[in-house]
Symmetry: C2
Subunit: 409 residues, 2 copies
Amino acid sequence: MPVNLSAPDPSRLFPVPGVRIGVAEAGVRKVGRKDLTVFLLDEGASVGGVFTRNRFCAAPVQICRDRLQAGEPIRAMVINTGNANAGTGEDGLARARQVSDALADLLKLQPGQVLPFSTGVIMEPLPVDRIVAGLPAAVADAQPNHWARAAEGIMTTDTVPKAFSAKARVGGVEVTITGISKGAGMIRPNMATMLGFLATDACVAPALMKPLAQALADASFNRVTIDGDTSTNDSFVVVATNKAANKPVSSLDSDDGRALLSAMQDVARQLAQAIVRDGEGATKFIAIQVDGGKTADECRQVAYAIAHSPLVKTAFFASDPNLGRILAAVGYAGIDDLDQAKIDLHLDDVCVAVNGGRNPAYREEDGQRVMKQAEITVRVNLGRGKASETVWTCDLSHDYVSINADYRS
Amino acid sequence: MPVNLSAPDPSRLFPVPGVRIGVAEAGVRKVGRKDLTVFLLDEGASVGGVFTRNRFCAAPVQICRDRLQAGEPIRAMVINTGNANAGTGEDGLARARQVSDALADLLKLQPGQVLPFSTGVIMEPLPVDRIVAGLPAAVADAQPNHWARAAEGIMTTDTVPKAFSAKARVGGVEVTITGISKGAGMIRPNMATMLGFLATDACVAPALMKPLAQALADASFNRVTIDGDTSTNDSFVVVATNKAANKPVSSLDSDDGRALLSAMQDVARQLAQAIVRDGEGATKFIAIQVDGGKTADECRQVAYAIAHSPLVKTAFFASDPNLGRILAAVGYAGIDDLDQAKIDLHLDDVCVAVNGGRNPAYREEDGQRVMKQAEITVRVNLGRGKASETVWTCDLSHDYVSINADYRS
């Protein structure tokens, strides 16, 4: 059961002018599942993306990187679930190209104008024939109001589709922002999540798309973790269709840039947090805030050490305030000159430890009360400086083991 | 159920002349448990130790480090389970001193001649009164042949006591080596394991004890991981009672030094591997061998990334050859210039991937056959150089979650 997350109401997802989406059942891995999604972009759209830092990155990730770098105008994206096309070598690259070339043919585009994405099992050959056979149906299905369908179409072990939408004012003009994401396991984005797509009709200078995607990922997908496993397929793509009447945003440091970034960040953060709320087996949503660091990097390092500790995660699952496990994770996070005598720990409003030892006023029943909540904030103060960072994670439950022991069966 | 590990046969554990061991029930956390162990060392023993790198190291760890540094001859060690005395601040240091001072009084030693050790729950005050009250019984129990009792006396979530013993020839003289260890969770030693004690009657120059302890830890405890959680209390102590007739070993690079090191390493490795075999919830024992690295460090880095991946560990639990997860972990291990096209993967004798892609000859049933075994070797070749390293780990099962969700209850 996801933590405080329900399926999106399709009527609350605003279409983004210039984007049409179609979904089909191609039988990639299982029959009767929406497993093939296409995004069709009107001429004039700008696209930016950030991708996994995993050195074993999937074939489609390599192709997306090359095509965005080459700068041909992107007009379509094709996403399959059920097969990640990762760990597939040269043959995998050829298969990813066959799929995107087939879509380019259908749409009368150049091959370099299509971005392919895959998610699913690693190290199995992509079933090109079935995917190509499904493309006409996906294209025929394309509509501007199909965001909820797309959110469903890219799910793998997700239990709930993830889509969010917002309106914002940029340069005095109302613009629309809508996005979808997927992912529930192998989630420790190191650039972006498994798959995230965010579109706006705002006018944005093409050169700004890559830094915009990076800034959005840094504030959202690069702040979440479920199991510490950085995927081979993480991809986060941002589209500006340039259909709105605003003066093109050319800097993130301008008033317009800040307004757009802030509104898009809200949606990106909701998409990223939705992945954690629907984390495999998750029963709790946990924000880990590390204050008082010398640098933002060391704050994140400590926050991730806590977020990845199986012992901390199982204690949250059990609602057991065995909070010394958090201190242990702080201690092994890798800050060589950390002084344990300066460290404080809070659980929501409850002060658990001060100066590296148990707070004399701390009562187990107070810790217990917070641990029972579905949403919890862990606050660690390192007592070394002024930097602060927050990451979001979930607990580790029996269902995580069940889901991942049974995933392929 | 531990993986191919049974309780030691007390008759096969050789006493080490100069070491007596006593165990008592002090009721530290639960009644009716052997939870207090003392080691009494004859005059003339040399002692070396290595300790956790966790910056939140426990109070007894801080005291042990100081006392070994100060160099007063160590004559006794006291170990309690049920309480780690970590995350306890200044008060914890005072309590650890009270316990070891009480033992020094009983034995008419100086305070600096006693080393204290604790293992158990973090961030709870050490019950000094109950431990001190138990000391006379532990001292009265002391016998040279109590190694099996001691192995039982230091257990926490261990299901099986861990003790190994060997005879070796050093400088033409037969010497004895016997050791015990404990630990099943919060195991990713970063110097040593939760607790390991290894003694020999060989004569060893006192100045060699610290490098000897380090060399032994590096070849054994620093090569195992269960859950990636580096403990606050990891301590590995090596004792040479200097009772044997060999000429004192003064260098690890001499013939005698190599003979002693090799024999002690065998025992230390058995003790370290026993911890993995009895890892919380473990059903499989997995050796991860990484070859073809540029440096030993990067081989270890990749091996630990695989060993810590929850997805890899749950696949082993399920006997599911979902082996792309191993490639993904190789990819995110942090080697920036890794070339995926050079990577090979074997599971025992089965070649799974070559040149970064699935081996065309690989058949799922071959992977399945190996995955069903209780002991498995994963071999990754990075294709970058000549370095090679091996670490040992276990799978991640439902029981790991159960044990750690219920540990304190």
